[in-house]
Structure formats: structure tokens, C-alpha cells
Symmetry: C2
Subunit: 356 residues, 2 copies
């Protein structure tokens, strides 16, 4: 029998056991398997625990024994705090957190630099990688630890689930929409393609070197649609500005609209960029879609509220979050890859090109 119920004044399970003269197993059972105890003893245990100010089994210790933490981890591409300024990421987080709620799981946002100091020690059962970086220190930490994980929007990785959309098809549908309207002079507003702080018109080589899978795929989608319409992709300017954000979209659009001849339609690789483009058009005194059409990508909540309401490619952000979480909770050997649908949403920001 243990004799050290009170060590250092801390009230532990052993304290309670000793106070009652029962074994620690009994106290543990009172909390975890109440049905294994007679009602009388169980009440006595719980009562004594309350008197002693014992708040129940220490979760850390319990977890160590059980080997399960009841928490899902989340790694975001950039610093975690950036996720909160990206409406698409926020929706994704909402989806994940809905599942966590249903399953009584904590959601652990794993911050820390790419070095992965936090990822190496975060207390989680599995991890969602909402990122595209092929190998990042955080992801490496997860792999080393042998934790199950899924990648969202990124590359397909061995032994990991995958959730994403058909970026290529989505982008192609946006481009086709404009081509069908009769546009022949397009411009593309790109998110930063390579992590080098460069700004300008990205040539084909740079397009191909795009760091993010989603960026590459969307560019391919645009290009395939343009070529399918028998137009020349090399005549389409792909403008890149840093850092990613609405202002980048605004400046890229301004540059495109200042060209001669100016494009009659702008393909923005995200809604955030597209909203910047709307601002740039207003700056230039151009009407949308009278003088220039704008099409985004994402269909974030602000897209429908924009002036004019933004034509864009809808992707199910929340659903991506839900799927990612569920894939971790109920892994299916058969289908560990989920490709969610995209859909062109035509609103007011796109129309036929102006008469020459």
C-alpha cells in the first residue's frame, strides 16, 4: 500500500485513496468506471475528493497512461496569426472547429516558426496541415513523431490523407467564362509565386516555379482555357505583387490597366486580390464590368457584398475544414483523398467587353 498520499501538499488521487484507506485503483475507477464500484463506495470516494479539494484526475497523467490527448492540431502555412486575416482561412478554421465541437476535442493551433519548435512538442493526437509547403520544419516534426496527419490544399504526401479542390478546373472555368463573354485581352493578378519578394510580370518560367501547388494549378487552368480558345497565353500578363493582400491586388490591377492596350478582363487568383482590383478600377475611373471585368477565386463572404458583387469561383472552405478533421477521426483505408467541388458563381463584376 502506498503511504504518500500528500506529497508537497498537492492533492492527488493518492491523497484521496489514503484518506479513505482504499487503493488508488478504486479512486481512479470512481471517476472513469463508476459502474465498477458499489454505489456506496463511489459516493464516499467522490465526497471525500470534494472535501479534500481534489478536482479529479490530472488530465496530463491520465493522458500519458491512455496515450490519447483528445486534441487535433492545426498547422498553417504562414505565421498562425496570418490565418485570422484571411477570410478563407477563417472559414476553414470554422469548419474544423465545428467537428472538434461535435467530438469534444480541443483544437490546437500550432504556431511557431518553420523550425517547428512548437510542432515538436504540441500535445495532439493528429494534425491538419493547412499548407502547401512540401517540407517545412513543422511538418517534419509531425512526421518524425509519427502522428497521423492530413494535408489540405497542398501536395499529396505518403501516409497522409488529403483534402483539396480541383484548382485547375476552377481556374479554367473562370477564364472560360470571360472568353465566352468575348474577351480577348486578359490579365492575371497573381499571388506571390516564389518566395523572393519579387514584383513584376511573371514569365512562363517563373509561373512554372510557383511554390504553391494551388498557384501552379490555377495558372495552368487559366492557360489551358486560353489555349483551348485558340488564344495566345504568352500575351496574357501575369502580374505579381507582394505581400499578399488586397493592396497587392490593387497595385497589380493598376499596372495591368495602365497597359496599352489594356486588358478588358482581369483574372484574380483570389477574392482578396480581386477586391483590390475593384478598388484599382475605381481609382482609374473605370466602371466594372462596363470597362473591365473582374473575376476572383474563393467566394469569401465579402465577395457577394462587394460593389459590384464579385463573380468568382466558389470553393467550400468550411467543408474542407470539416472533411480534414473527419478524415483524421475516421480514417478510411479506401478513400483518404477528398476532392471537393468548385463552382463558378456569376455575379455583377463580369460582362461582355466594351465595344471598341
Amino acid at each position: 500500500m502506498e503511504t504518500d498520499g500528500r506529497r508537497g501538499g498537492r492533492v492527488t488521487l493518492a491523497t484521496v485513496a489514503d484518506a479513505l484507506g482504499v487503493s488508488r485503483a478504486t479512486v481512479s475507477n470512481a471517476y472513469n468506471h463508476p459502474e465498477r464500484l458499489s454505489a456506496a463506495l463511489r459516493d464516499r470516494v467522490l465526497g471525500t475528493a470534494r472535501e479534500l479539494g481534489y478536482a479529479g484526475p490530472h488530465p496530463l497523467a491520465a493522458t500519458l497512461s491512455r496515450g490519447r490527448v483528445n486534441a487535433l492540431g492545426l498547422i498553417y502555412e504562414d505565421p498562425m496569426s496570418f490565418a485570422f486575416s484571411d477570410p478563407a482561412a477563417v472559414l476553414f478554421l470554422q469548419g474544423v472547429s465545428e467537428v472538434c465541437e461535435d467530438e469534444d476535442l480541443a483544437l490546437v493551433l500550432i504556431s511557431g516558426g518553420p523550425a517547428g519548435a512548437v510542432a515538436r512538442v504540441a500535445l495532439v493526437d493528429a494534425v491538419i496541415c493547412y499548407c502547401d509547403v512540401p517540407i517545412d520544419g513543422r511538418l517534419a516534426a509531425i512526421v518524425d513523431r509519427g502522428l497521423p496527419f492530413v494535408v489540405v490544399d497542398g501536395p499529396r504526401l505518403p501516409n497522409a490523407g488529403h483534402v483539396g479542390i480541383d484548382d485547375r478546373r476552377g481556374a479554367a472555368s473562370a477564364a472560360r467564362h470571360l472568353l465566352d463573354l468575348g474577351h480577348t485581352r486578359l490579365g492575371v493578378i497573381a499571388m506571390p509565386l516564389v518566395d523572393d519578394g519579387w514584383e513584376g510580370t511573371a514569365d512562363r518560367d517563373r509561373q512554372d516555379r510557383a511554390r504553391y501547388r494551388a498557384s501552379r494549378e490555377r495558372l495552368i487552368g487559366y492557360r489551358e482555357a486560353v489555349e483551348a480558345a485558340a488564344q495566345d497565353w504568352s500575351a496574357v500578363a501575369v502580374e505579381e505583387r507582394v505581400p499578399y493582400g488586397r493592396d497587392a491586388g490593387r497595385r497589380a490591377a493598376a499596372a495591368l490597366l495602365a497597359r496599352d492596350p489594356a486588358p478588358t478582363a482581369l483574372l484574380a487568383m483570389s477574392d482578396e486580390l480581386a477586391l483590390g482590383a475593384l478598388a484599382a478600377a475605381a481609382d482609374a475611373g473605370l466602371s466594372v464590368p462596363g470597362d473591365v471585368s473582374v473575376v476572383g477565386f474563393d467566394d469569401v463572404p465579402g465577395a457577394a457584398d462587394a460593389h459590384p458583387a464579385l463573380t468568382t469561383v466558389r470553393q467550400p472552405h468550411r467543408e474542407k475544414g470539416r472533411r480534414a478533421a473527419e478524415l483524421l477521426l475516421r480514417p478510411t483505408a479506401t478513400a483518404d483523398e477528398h476532392r471537393l467541388p468548385v463552382e463558378l458563381v456569376v455575379r455583377a463584376s463580369s460582362g461582355p467587353p466594351p465595344h471598341r
Copy 2:
């Protein structure tokens, strides 16, 4: 000496120790106190660990010994997933996550119902309560566990830090702004005051019973300003709609504007409600601020982008998050209460009342 380096095939610290014929303490030191080991042995340990596929000390076990998890918990008032649809909450989260990033801490979103099942076992060192509920099962779980915590925007609780704003003064400044402009017929758009699903014009008794401290304080602020202007508070209709959100604001505003005489200015208790009010004014064919002025509260990012740009009371959401986190990391015996500044931001949605 231990002899069970490999139990069940799992590679543990003991596995590595046995493989080398050194003690477990030595292996532990190789990771945690490398300077205590000779360079030669340290390299041998780390090398063998790599060969054996040992990914370093199991964080859970390390944590149990050390008693520190390196994670901050966050409890939100409503289901956690709601936080992601509230722009103010998102900014707050961003603030918290910035500090976590700087400090290499994980941020644990504690979901789960008010029962507190998750809160009872979440692996965190301290908790931020972004909520107002005086006693909620989740908060009770935190208190029982003896975890340090701070309350944000809620009541002042014993043994807990506090971060908030002067809601009363902010609200008063909003009301005073309208009164100074010459308005004499005001209407208030309230968030749900009591949790009973009721809709309608809240009388004084109901106003005083408001569940959230922030709601109560803002109403008091409005009232004090009105009374200071020698006007009659009981003539000011306080319209309440559920559930909280933009649509509630729209319907409340519609009801107020349908009155005869209609108010010439609307005080919305949040920007989300105010944006709904702008929509209602548009629905009714009224111009803002020509026919009716609208003032919000929060200054969320969307407020400046609204049409017209919203006059509102700015509060530093991100800074609240930062302060809350820092208060937990560096508790100061002297000042455990932080009251952040509010500021009226006059934009285009408020102006003098129409000529009669």
C-alpha cells in the same frame, strides 16, 4: 539498470539508453542539457537515436514531469465555431495568437458545450476566457483545476486577471455624438439581452437584466448620455432580435424605422447590427445619413468599407487579445486589470437630422 528498452516495439528513451548501455538520465540530458554531456557521448546518443528512429522525448511524458505544457487555452462564450463568424472575435484571436507565436506556445481552442467536458481535460497552462458568462461549466472546470485565467470583457472575478474596455463610456460617446448633431429621436438596436429567444422592444426591466456585462454597460452609457442631454430615455425604443447577427440588425432597424414618428438616428450595439441597419435603411428607400443616421460599436474591418462608411466606436480587439495573453505569461501582482481605450470614429453614416 533498466532492461526493458523495447517494450511493445515502441522506441522510447529507454530503448536508446539500453542500446548504448547508458542510463536513461544520460539520454534525457543529451536532449535537454547537452552541455552536461561530453561531446563524444552526446553525439553517440543522438546518432543512435536517429538510427533507432527515436524522435526525441515524448512531449506528454516530458510535460508530466515538468508540469508545464507550453500552451494557452481559450474559452469562447458560444460554441467555439461561432467565434469565427464574428469579425471582432477573429481579431481578438489574432492578437492572442501573435503572442503565442512570439512565445512559442500552442493556442488551444477549448470547445465543447457549457458542460465543460473539454475544459476539464484540456492540456493547457492557463486560460483566456473570452466570455461574459459569470459561471459556466467550462469556467468552473478551469477554476476547479486551479489554472490561472483571465477574463476578457466579462465580470471581474477573484484570483483572475481582467482585460476589457470602458463599454459605458464608449456607448455614451456614440450617443452624445448623435445628440450633439441635433438628433432628438433615437432608437437602439440591441443584441440579445436575455437568453430566452424573445424579440421585441425591451423595457427598462429587461434592459437591467441583460446577461452580458458589455450589453448592460453599453445600454447604461446610451442612457446616461440621453439623460445628460435632458432627454427622456423611456422614449428611446430598444429593439431586440434573435439570433445575433446582421439579419437581426436589419429586422430591428426595419421595426424602428416603421415607427411614427420614426427615429432620425439609430444606435447599434455592434457593427454587425449596424451593417444590418444600413441594409434596412436601403430596403426602406432611406438615405444614410440624410434620412437617418447609424452609429455602430466595435470598428470591425468591414465598418470602414460599408456604404456609407460606418461611424462607430473603435475598440482595440487585437490589443485585447495580446494583453490577455501577456497577462497570463507575465502576471503582475500590481496591475491585473487592463482597461483599454475606446474612441469614437466619425465616418459617413452619421450627420444632422433631416429638416422637418
